[in-house]
Amino acid sequence: MAMKWHFSHRLLVVELNAAPALTVSVQEADFDVAALQRQLITGTGQEGAVVTFTGHVRKVGTDQPVDSMLLEHYPGMTENSITDILRQASARWPLLAASVVHRVGRLQAGDQIVWVGVTSAHREAAFNACEFVMDYLKNEAPFWKKEQGPRGGQWVEARHEDRQRAARWDSDATK
């Protein structure tokens, strides 16, 4: 009996120590959130929590209604930057998988723009990691938004509030 428990315990440790699956996609095409969530699940039955976030293009812009939005990025650096953020999240919380999809190019108001999905054995790690990834992505990943409205094109300015949200993860309280 003791032998059996010991074997199971060791097996569990090996599985938890396996590197989480991290995936990043920067794409023009729209995405299917249900399909993306299914892809996160490993099929091993370890997931106790799946937390996802979907961002949309708002119709209300900085100071004009938004008809469409142009998303520009720095190819190569964008993917590396998001992968690094996912690695930081998986070093901080015991994740099973983490994935980001971010669209670029011309988007219309109401369109999906970004998706983050995180799985973990327990909800606290998944909730925290998903929010951490979005907070860091908004401050570090090289994307730029240009809103198009009745008064023409206008580059979106970086917000101090977004920097503050990311900075709060540096405090010990959230580690």
């Binding site: 720095y74 971010h102 979005m134 992505l137 994307f143 970086a158």
Partner: protein, 84 residues
């Protein structure tokens, strides 16, 4: 050769997405490269590149302050990011 890239508002204001510069010791740091771009580009380039919130990256990693450059490096200038 040094590859220099500009993105978003910076690219638009300079009307220039990218430059290839022949390598020389006179551009062997980000500060020296920026000074040379301002000098050769004139007042417009000086105004755009000296904006206080300008972000600078070397080989796709953001650098703060000055940073040394080597032949073959990729340098990028862009405004604070606004994705998500």
């Amino acid at each position: 050769m040094l590859k220099v890239l500009f993105f978003a508002r910076v690219k638009e204001e300079l009307d220039c997405p990218a430059l290839d510069l022949p390598w020389s010791e006179s551009i062997a740091s980000v500060e020296r490269l920026q000074a040379q771009l301002c000098e050769s580009g004139g007042q417009r380039w000086q105004e755009v590149l000296s904006q206080p919130n300008m972000v600078r990256a070397v080989n796709q990693t953001v650098v703060s302050g000055d940073a040394p450059l080597c032949d073959g490096d990729e340098v990028a200038f862009f405004p604070p990011v606004t994705g998500g």
